[in-house]
């Protein structure tokens, strides 16, 4: 099989999984961006698995659709809710980490274009070793889980 055929088949397979991304032992699934009205910041949620044998460190996310993306953790302390800014998230070999409501989440701030429920937002996950992983976030409504 020619290299170009293999590449084409891989691209076709990847295209079938529009909210999943795979690269060098990292798998991302169920990526969704929960939109709020106006220009309010939206939350990004997803599941990331490190299927490799080495530790990976997620250091950030960027997208052309928003000016800024931050990684946060929602915390409850003494009945009070607050957010902690995370500079990095470690992914041990074999670990699966959830960015989910009331826990880790991305904060997408200041959109650069109009967005609607049903849109797809292309983003890039960045890692300490320089790897960049493209992920497509499905835009979901404010009442989505």
């Amino acid at each position: 099989m020619l290299q170009s055929d293999r590449g084409l088949i891989l691209a076709l397979v990847l295209a079938l999984f529009s909210t999943a991304a795979f690269a060098a032992d990292l798998a991302v699934e169920d990526a969704r961006l929960r939109l709020l009205p106006g220009d309010l910041p939206g939350a990004g949620y997803f599941r990331i698995s490190n299927e490799g044998s080495e530790s990976r460190v997620l250091t950030g996310v960027e997208t052309a659709a928003f000016e800024r993306v931050m990684m946060h953790e929602s915390l409850e302390e003494d009945g009070m809710m607050r957010m902690r800014h995370m500079m990095k998230v470690e992914l041990e070999p074999g670990a699966q980490v959830e960015f989910a409501p009331r826990g880790y989440h991305l904060m997408f701030m200041k959109r650069t274009r109009d967005l609607s429920v049903g849109d797809k937002v292309e983003a890039t996950l960045k890692f300490a070793d320089g790897q960049r992983l493209p992920v497509v976030f499905q835009v979901v409504s404010p009442t989505a889980r």
Partner: protein, 191 residues
């Protein structure tokens, strides 16, 4: 005779604290619903304006991407579980403790995303402090980053009030959704 005494004793104990609420029963522990705030139409409103309706009060801010929408989305599902003809008797009050960013229009757009039963309210610091002190919750502002954004810490508690304005329940994230639906139905059933 002994059985009669036992029955009487059981009834007396049952009357003291009603065991059939799912969320935490706070009746007699918290004051009736009272406040002086501004609603999402810019109108001044008082707690007494909501007498006759079952009211759930929640504190947050619209620039909160995770907790507040998650809680409101959960309540949106709770409202959907209520019979349609009863929904107009229920109000979920989203009290923003971030008046610097949450003006009436922002609040209206925000609560409209969750349903007509959701009402956004805010006020100046004095009015907010009075209300949060009344229900023994607090809020605070984080440092601004270079873009002027800041976090707002706030209580995770929701308070449910009867139609007569009396405080009945403290609802927490840990209370199962089905349990909260049962409690809301019970509050609505009471005249």
């Amino acid at each position: 005779m002994r059985y009669t005494l036992l029955l009487l004793a059981t009834l007396l104990v049952a009357g003291c604290s009603d065991p059939s609420w799912e969320a935490k029963d706070i009746s007699g522990l918290m004051k009736p619903l009272e406040f002086n705030l501004v609603d999402e139409n810019g109108q001044e409103v008082e707690g007494s304006d909501f007498r006759g309706k079952v009211t759930v009060v929640f504190f947050g801010f619209t620039h909160c991407p995770d907790i507040c929408p998650t809680t409101l989305a959960r309540f949106s599902r709770i409202v959907d579980a209520i019979e349609p003809e009863q929904r107009d008797d229920l109000r979920v009050l989203f009290v923003s403790v971030d008046p610097a960013r949450d003006d009436p229009q922002t609040l209206r757009e925000y609560t409209d995303a969750f349903g007509p039963e959701f009402v956004g309210l805010t006020g100046d610091r004095e009015a907010l402090d009075e209300l949060t002190r009344r229900y023994r919750v607090t809020y605070g502002y984080g440092d601004k980053n270079e873009a002027g954004d800041y976090d707002v810490s706030h209580s995770s508690a929701l308070f449910a009030f009867r139609r007569d304005g009396g405080a009945q329940l403290l609802i927490r994230d840990s209370d199962p959704t089905e349990a909260v639906i049962a409690d809301i139905r019970r509050l609505l059933a009471a005249g």
